[in-house]
């Protein structure tokens, strides 16, 4: 543990300020609360928003899991995990069920979360209306007046151009029938996991200096049209080559030798857990 710094890196005053913004975010589901985002020892845009939330919330008894793009072992996830454990000494885990705090970039784990867990998502661009309106001052007014035609119009234009909605990740959602929110670049596959989630979901954008939240059991609906319903990515007829799972988010890979496309669980810890269930005496 690095003792040149305070517990969890920040001074206590800073942590309190971030928690105050977080409380406000929980009280107004989907509303982007501005906060005085601090410069962090990792790059702006590399998860500083999520990291600040994690550090402001973490206590000595917490168990931390960090994933990046579904993987516990991605360099960025490892890097963040290392920073938090260096400055707090808390235990880290790969197992979703064991974790009390889960910081993630671009994924919600496959294992359903429970009420004793907090999911912290890293957000690059928190403003769902930014493509429609570049000015922060203007988008703030649009949110205040619940004027979201712009969000639907962007989708309508995609349908006109391409015949379907072409949002990749970060498909906008309506929270608690009030605020349109960017769910962070999670795949559309994960959007439904936000709806009525048992776990508290916090979203932090460090560079853009915003915190927002989906409190437990909150209605979250992906934006769509009556005749063009929201569609998650489809992995129909596909399964994980390692553990055989279906109905999970899969990475598409190419076999170097046979040149064939195959699929593998994106959530690596989930995949390993399934493998161990199937084959309790399996080898490495």
């Amino acid at each position: 543990m690095n003792t040149a710094y305070n517990f969890a890196f920040f001074d206590e005053g800073s942590k309190r300020e971030i928690r105050r913004a977080t409380l406000k975010a929980i009280a107004i589901p989907g509303y982007q609360v501005p906060f005085a985002s601090r410069e962090m020892p990792i790059g702006r845009g590399w998860g500083t928003g999520g990291l600040q939330l994690t550090l402001s919330l973490i206590g000595r008894s917490d168990v931390l899991k960090v994933i990046d793009q579904g993987s516990d072992e991605s360099v960025n996830a490892v890097n963040i995990k290392k920073l938090v454990s260096d400055t707090t000494g808390v235990i880290t885990t790969d197992h979703t069920r064991e974790a009390t705090l889960i910081q993630s970039r671009h994924r919600i784990p496959e294992v359903p979360l429970n009420k004793d867990q907090i999911l912290i998502l890293q957000v690059p661009l928190p403003e769902p209306l930014r493509d429609y309106e570049p000015s922060e001052n203007e988008t703030k007014k649009l949110h205040a007046e619940k004027e979201y035609s712009g969000a639907w119009l962007m989708l309508f234009e995609q349908i006109m151009k391409y015949g379907s909605m072409t949002t990749g990740a970060d498909h906008p959602v309506m929270v608690h029938d009030r605020y349109v929110m960017a769910p962070s670049p999670i795949p559309r596959f994960d959007n439904p996991k936000m709806h009525e989630s048992e776990a508290l979901i916090l979203l932090g954008a460090g560079r853009e200096k915003k915190v927002y939240a989906v409190p437990p059991y909150t209605k979250v609906v992906s934006l769509d049209f009556e005749d063009y319903p929201f569609e998650p990515e489809s992995f129909l007829d596909k399964h994980c080559r390692l553990c055989g799972s279906t109905g999970v988010f899969l990475d598409e890979l190419v076999d170097e030798e046979t040149n064939e496309t195959f699929y593998q669980c994106n959530d690596t810890s989930y995949c390993i857990e399934i493998l161990n269930e199937v084959e309790p005496f399996g080898v490495k």
């Binding site: 007046e145 234009e157 006109m160």
Partner: protein, 279 residues
Amino acid sequence: MAEFEVPVLSIKNLNKQFGKGCLHCQDGESLVKNYCPICGTVYACRDVSFDVFPGEVLGIVGESGSGKSTLMQCLYFDQEVSAGEAYLADYHHGERNLFQESSQQQRYIRNHIMGKVYQNPLMGLKMNFSSIGNIAEKLIAAGSHHVGMMENRGMELLNKVNIPVHRRKEAPKNFSGGMQQRVQIAKALSNRPPLLLLDEVTTGLDLSVQASVLDLIKSLQRELNISIVLVSHDLGVIRMLADRTLVMLEGKVIEQGLTDQILEDPQHQYTQQLVHSLL
């Protein structure tokens, strides 16, 4: 027009000034026309009142600087009034002063009860979005969430304003000025508003294009029986479209009446000049 008819829109004592005003101009003493040379305040609209009845086209004519465009901006909440009241029959039975509603409510009114066509298409259209998307924006704002329905309505309207339906996915920035105005008209009509505001819609267009846009407005008005407030500096446009006309000068309404009557027997010296120049 029967007297017991309820007006669609009622404006009472609308005032709009730009600048703070000073001791010299607040009682109107120091004004040169509608401008205070001491403090630089402009009194753009002074005590303007009028009613618009169902199915009626009300023309407002005046030279540039007479306050007619400012008046239009106030009606569509693009500008905040300095004082005055406005009532819409279709909004809380005409019992709520629109100017005192929250900006959220004003947005509702704009999205559901009004349509506006601006002189400059840049103000009324998103130039980089498709034409059908521009129409859909207004429909979405009014609560529609059905793509097929919006596309059909959009095509029906584009057809009505004589834009080839196969060009619906093109952005208005590719269109000529006359076509852009017609897309604006289609957009303004999309949610079937009881009231349409037209601000110098033909100014800047070629004469032949002007004529076709005016014809279009006239036939749409007859077909849909919509109420229109029409602002123009061109008495020719007013003569062609308006049932009743207000003449504005220096921010004030100086004369009003049936259009025919104003054209045949203008009372105010300025109106006489205006009519004379038309002949």
